[in-house]
Symmetry: C2
Subunit: 416 residues, 2 copies
């Protein structure tokens, strides 16, 4: 291990977190801009390090997706730098007085937004996560411990080196940001149990999330699956519905807020499904459905429960015809992952029932699930989309990287 | 097991949670009042059941504290009923629009408060927790799974029977509230891993909390230790300080927001500690301190690091003299449990630095740590005081038993 034991990195992060917590917004923004500059200035060095990682991955015959995620280019580095500069212009969540009141005995009670302290990020091969996550954590006043994968170690080391120098140049402790360079499985488990971490955010696939669920003893926010549904109600505007379904499925099928199942009310199935089937087929989407859907769309495959439970993350869509709103909501309750669920309807009662009764991070009416994203919902940037209920639900922006403390001011009040 | 497997109780709770989530405030309040009435009407039955539990505890030679916690009386039952009626008049957190805005593309985005779903409570021998916790969870629209200890099983069964009947009479599903009657250790661990539970709240001592930390895989909010400090700054109003220190230590020494350590600035130690030592001694408080404190208070014992780290929960206080605010804050950072920390000062800079830099659920200026309590801070009632940072920090009231979902309304918007 090159840079200290995990416990030692944890101690240094805790120590740095105190300086970060009281740093002014101006200082943090300066640090973010210096980090962005250094990423660009050291592009040659960072890309050379990345070439080492990519070369090893190629020798190990990694798949195209894995290689694409790992590979950095001038353009991707520029996007990382732009991301940091974007975070610098977002409002600082720290210090926000969330609420305040005066108690009958004269005590002034405020709830004030403060940093979490130390945020741990454990992630897979995408080196851009290194700067994206670090930038958001820094702006929210947190120290960050990063634990990337072995496959991206050289890239991460180069990126973190630049970021630490940027932080340091702004007068903040470099240890506000550290990379755990021990990439063994044992170190990953140790990381998930490190007491110094106030909040652990895993970014990656199922095996990482399962490992976190099994081993983590520190508080975690899970960026879970998105098995998202679009339900076309009996009263839907079918032209609008077609456009929304196409958008939710095909605009970017590989992401968590893309639609994976289309539910159609029986009363409009005949008028909608053949059209939708053609349009989706033309866009290269493979369709699987229940008996009633298959009767309306030639060439549609048979869907089983596993299909309805699957986040395809690609050009495949499960389809079911339902008798009414209740059946649609029951399907969503059974198979949904609590991410984003949309109803397309012109009936105000259907819309309101769907919004109230569907249990998910986001419910949408007459629009695409693709909007469930930090940028689109006005959070500026996000570190992930939480599908858990505690602390953060939906896109996690700067505010979700903070907590709140009570500040109580009196003048001698005692409790009777 | 008398009432179904834990998994089955979980399934029924999940099912009931859907009805609870859309129940009107009026229905929930009616249920709470019916529950209160039934607790009173069935006092004979409940007290008889409690007598069985107390008898067994006496035969097993339980200590006085344990017996006192377990024992119910007419007065305690009346207090439980009054608690439920109090919750009925609190504002309903469900449906609160936390924030809302219109995006540039016309999407209307709201964050709306909704119930968590199923709340699990695992607790020790105090049967009043059964109705207190159930009442708060019900008002917040959650189904509740209760897992009390073996020692209070008969009492809990009688109480939960009355509450289920009250809920049912109001037209809500009785399974909104269930008691896990399997009181084995295995069942406790199974409970901590039950997927049906959206939030687990443990109420009890260290061994329970340690077990939850070790075994729980469901999200948890920990009601942790309160190793609270009062720091008397150089500029403190010493008369006021004496009154606050006495209140923080002696008004109710057995609770988590009582003070456990007194820190005194060296400049006022001579003027304050001898007086404080006499007053505390007269109130029966045992004092232990560092060398400088002992030199000023005759008869003060010697304090070691373990004393400074201990939540005495009784009439004992650790004392230290510090050279300045920084040393006081360093002591708190080292030994504090992140619960409630007070500074007594007339210096605005000291007050502001303390509020910003001390990392705790609550920081207080010129008032007693005893005010860190749901009722005193205006939350109405609380289910515990969280010392963790995620989700809930400080007193957990009705709002902390909910989460937020995004509701996004459009008219055909798609993402480009």
């Amino acid at each position: 291990m090159a840079n200290g034991t995990i416990e030692e990195l944890g101690r240094r992060a805790v120590h740095s977190a105190r300086a970060l917590a009281v740093a002014t917004t101006a200082t943090k923004d300066t640090a973010l801009r210096l980090c962005a500059d250094l990423l660009e200035q050291r592009a040659g060095e960072i890309l050379a390090a990345n070439t080492v990682d990519v070369g090893r991955a190629e020798r190990e015959e990694a798949g195209d997706t894995a290689l694409d995620r790992l590979r950095l280019t001038e353009a991707r580095l520029a996007a990382m730098a732009a991301g940091l500069r974007q975070v610098a212009v977002l409002p600082d969540p720290v210090g926000e007085v969330v609420e305040g009141s005066i108690r009958p005995n004269g005590l002034r009670v405020e709830r004030v937004r403060v940093p979490l302290g130390v945020v741990g990020i454990i992630y897979e091969n995408r080196p851009n996560v290194t700067s994206d996550a670090a930038g958001l954590c820094l702006k929210a006043g947190n120290a960050t411990l990063l634990r990337g994968s072995s496959g991206a170690l050289e890239s991460n080391r180069a990126i973190v080196g630049a970021l630490r120098d940027g932080v340091s140049k702004a007068g903040l402790p470099a240890d506000a940001l550290s990379l755990v360079e021990d990439v063994s499985r044992e170190a990953a488990v140790q990381f998930m149990k490190l007491e110094a971490i106030d909040c652990l955010v895993p970014r990656g696939g199922h095996s990482l999330l399962d490992s976190v669920r099994e081993h983590a003893t520190v508080p975690v926010v899970i960026d879970g699956d998105g098995n998202c549904h679009v339900y076309v109600d009996a009263s839907a505007d079918l032209d609008q519905a077609l456009e929304i379904v196409m958008n939710a499925k095909t605009q970017r099928p590989g992401v968590c807020n893309a639609a994976e199942t289309l539910l159609v009310h029986g009363a409009v199935a005949e008028g909608f499904l053949p059209r939708a089937g053609r349009a989706l087929g033309d866009a290269g989407v493979e369709l699987v459905g229940d008996e009633r859907a298959r009767a309306l769309v030639p060439g549609m495959g048979e869907a089983n429960d596993e299909d309805y439970a699957t986040e395809f993350l690609g050009l495949k869509l499960a389809v079911a015809v339902v008798d009414d709103l209740d059946e649609a909501m029951a399907h969503i309750a059974r198979f949904g992952s609590g991410h984003s669920e949309a109803i397309l309807t012109t009936d105000v009662r259907s819309a309101e029932r769907f919004c109230r009764e569907v249990d998910a991070a986001a419910v949408l009416v007459n629009t695409s699930t693709r909007f469930v994203d930090g940028g689109e919902l006005g959070l500026g940037a996000e570190i992930g989309i939480s599908t858990q209920k505690l602390h953060a639900r939906g896109p996690m922006g700067l505010r979700e990287l903070t907590c709140v403390k009570y500040v109580v001011r009196g003048d001698g009040q005692v409790r009777r």
